[in-house]
């Protein structure tokens, strides 16, 4: 069955079709995401995950199908009118602006008064735990810090939809875990609807409320987490078997677990 029907679907995607030259990339991709939920999408490299996000963001308008955000048909709208923010894999910060200005960028575009900008940016700085770093330039920040700033910049404009393209891929495992936790907390606090693309199973399970799998030009929707885990194609079963085999081998060899 294609398409989990949720009652208050914030994002509705219908029959997206995309070709690359003669090759079809997607064929009738449809799904829905409820308000404030995160759809975690798993897929192998080259499966078109990035293209899908760019289509949702409005950065790629060469496709068929329709997209609705909050019951508005945004298919023909350009990126800047969709309020759908796309976060790149590499934290892409404006090199000529410091942390404060990077975060404030979206607010400055809307010509908000200075005091309001300051207030909102400071609040966000607190949420992403980077207070005191507002005067720093991007080049002096670590990967994790940069990704936080990219986050903060997205948060502060309160987008209708957040599109994350393997945002933590370039971070080390500890920073990654911290970022996943931060994202989960902030997203639920602000009731942000997002589509989170990753190839890391653990990450998907950690951040996702809903789940999807891109393969062969289609997106498979799952009713719930259990369904996702049960599907042999999602890779969860394979992982479990691997760890299970390891556990059995450890018991069999009589190795004693170190305290």
């Amino acid at each position: 069955m294609n398409g989990a029907q949720t009652l208050d679907a914030w994002l509705k995607v219908q029959a997206i079709r995309k070709r690359f030259g003669a090759r079809p990339l997607f064929d009738k991709v449809s799904f829905e995401v409820a308000r404030g939920q995160t759809l975690a999408v798993i897929g192998a490299s080259g499966s078109g995950k990035t293209t899908l996000l760019r289509i949702l963001a409005g950065l790629d308008r060469d496709h068929q199908g329709r997209i609705f955000i909050d019951d508005r048909d945004v298919t023909s709208l350009p990126a800047r009118q969709r309020q759908a923010l796309y976060l790149y894999q590499e934290p892409l910060l404006f090199p000529h602006l410091n942390v404060f200005e990077n975060i404030a960028f979206g607010l400055r575009l809307r010509r908000l008064p200075k005091t309001q900008v300051r207030e909102q940016v400071e609040q966000v700085l607190g949420e992403i735990e980077l207070q005191g770093l507002d005067a720093r330039k991007p080049e002096s920040l670590s990967g994790g810090q940069r990704q936080r700033v990219a986050f903060g910049r997205a948060l502060v404009v309160q987008p209708a939809l957040l599109l994350l393209d393997e945002p933590f891929g370039s971070l080390d495992p500890e920073t990654r875990a911290a970022m996943q936790e931060l994202f989960g907390r902030v997203a639920s606090q602000h009731r942000i609807t997002s589509v989170f693309v990753t190839h890391d199973l653990k990450e998907a399970l950690r951040v996702g409320d809903q789940f999807g799998l891109i393969a062969d030009g289609r997106l498979r929707n799952y009713i719930d987490r259990a369904a996702f885990c049960a599907d042999p194609d999602s890779g969860v079963q394979r992982e479990l078997r691997f760890w299970e085999a390891l556990r059995v081998e450890a018991i069999g060899s009589g190795a004693k677990p170190t305290p």
Binding site: L85, Y88, F94, A154
Partner: protein
């Protein structure tokens, strides 16, 4: 072991001496012609075989700049023309290089845009000359400006095309995603990031016009006077003092600028090492 160390340090000391010596020699080689230029501009007589001029008259500078030798006029003309060419060529070059960068056939377009620069200025001047006569641009200030512009524009396109890489494209897209309209993308993202390179382009296109001799002569046809043309005229008439004076004016401005900010000439050098 000890002798080994001693030999090594002796070799090291030798190398240091060679290094210091060559460096000093090169510095002298560079400084001498420049000093010579300055001296020539205030020398009335320099009889052979003296190694120093007979007499130096620094007061000559006030006379030369007072106006009847044409130095001041040529200086003003040169400045005016060069500023117009620099601003025009940089602006046009910036916009064109952006169009080219996003185009599918950018390799071909780039080569085409560079054509005016590839042929010698004389050839450019000769081929444009007839057309300019027809358009009544010959022997006019604007004719010279246009001809120099074509040359400088080709150069600016080459120089500024290095700016439009995938990073800038991604940053522009990002800004659009956050909500910026086209004007805001230019004003808040592209221009600030291009500022350094634009400065370099302005300076170098200014120099192309400031130093130009062939086009000013061929298109100007005697009606337009610039500093390089004056150098030539005075050289031809054997008045080396005035020729050198024009030379000092010609060289002085760029020399000061470059010594203060060496990055103004950075572009062709960094392009070689970061060729995409």
């Amino acid at each position: 072991m000890v002798s080994g160390v001693a030999v090594a340090s002796a070799a090291g000391a030798n190398a240091a001496v060679i290094r210091a010596g060559s460096t000093s020699l090169l510095c002298v080689l560079i400084a001498v012609p420049l000093v010579l230029l300055l001296l020539l501009s205030v020398t009335r007589h320099w009889s052979y075989p003296g190694l120093w001029p007979d007499a130096l008259q620094w007061s000559q500078w006030r006379v030369m700049l007072s106006g009847d030798r044409g130095l001041l006029d040529a200086l003003v003309s040169s400045l005016l023309i060069a500023v117009i060419v620099a601003v025009g060529a940089t602006t046009a070059g910036f916009l064109t290089s952006q169009r080219i960068a996003g185009h599918r056939r950018r390799g071909v377009l780039l080569m085409l845009a560079l054509l005016p620069f590839a042929i010698s200025p004389v050839v450019l001047g000769v081929t444009l000359n007839y057309g300019f006569i027809r358009l009544q641009l010959a022997a006019s200030l604007w004719g010279v400006i246009l001809a120099q512009f074509l040359f400088a524009y080709a150069y600016a396109v080459l120089l500024l095309s290095g700016f439009w890489n995938t990073r800038i494209a991604a940053l522009s897209e990002l800004a659009e995603s956050i909500g910026a309209d086209r004007f805001q993308i230019w004003w808040r993202v592209r221009l600030p990031l291009a500022a350094g390179l634009l400065g370099v382009s302005l300076f170098q296109t200014f120099l192309i016009s400031w130093f130009d001799f062939a086009l000013a002569r061929l298109i100007g046809a005697g009606r337009v006077q610039t500093l390089p043309l004056l150098v030539f005229d005075y050289f031809g008439s054997g008045d080396f003092r005035l020729a050198a004076a024009c030379g000092v004016l010609l060289v002085g401005l760029p020399l000061a600028a470059v010594l203060l900010n060496r990055r103004l000439l950075a572009w062709p050098l960094t392009a070689a090492s970061s060729r995409v």
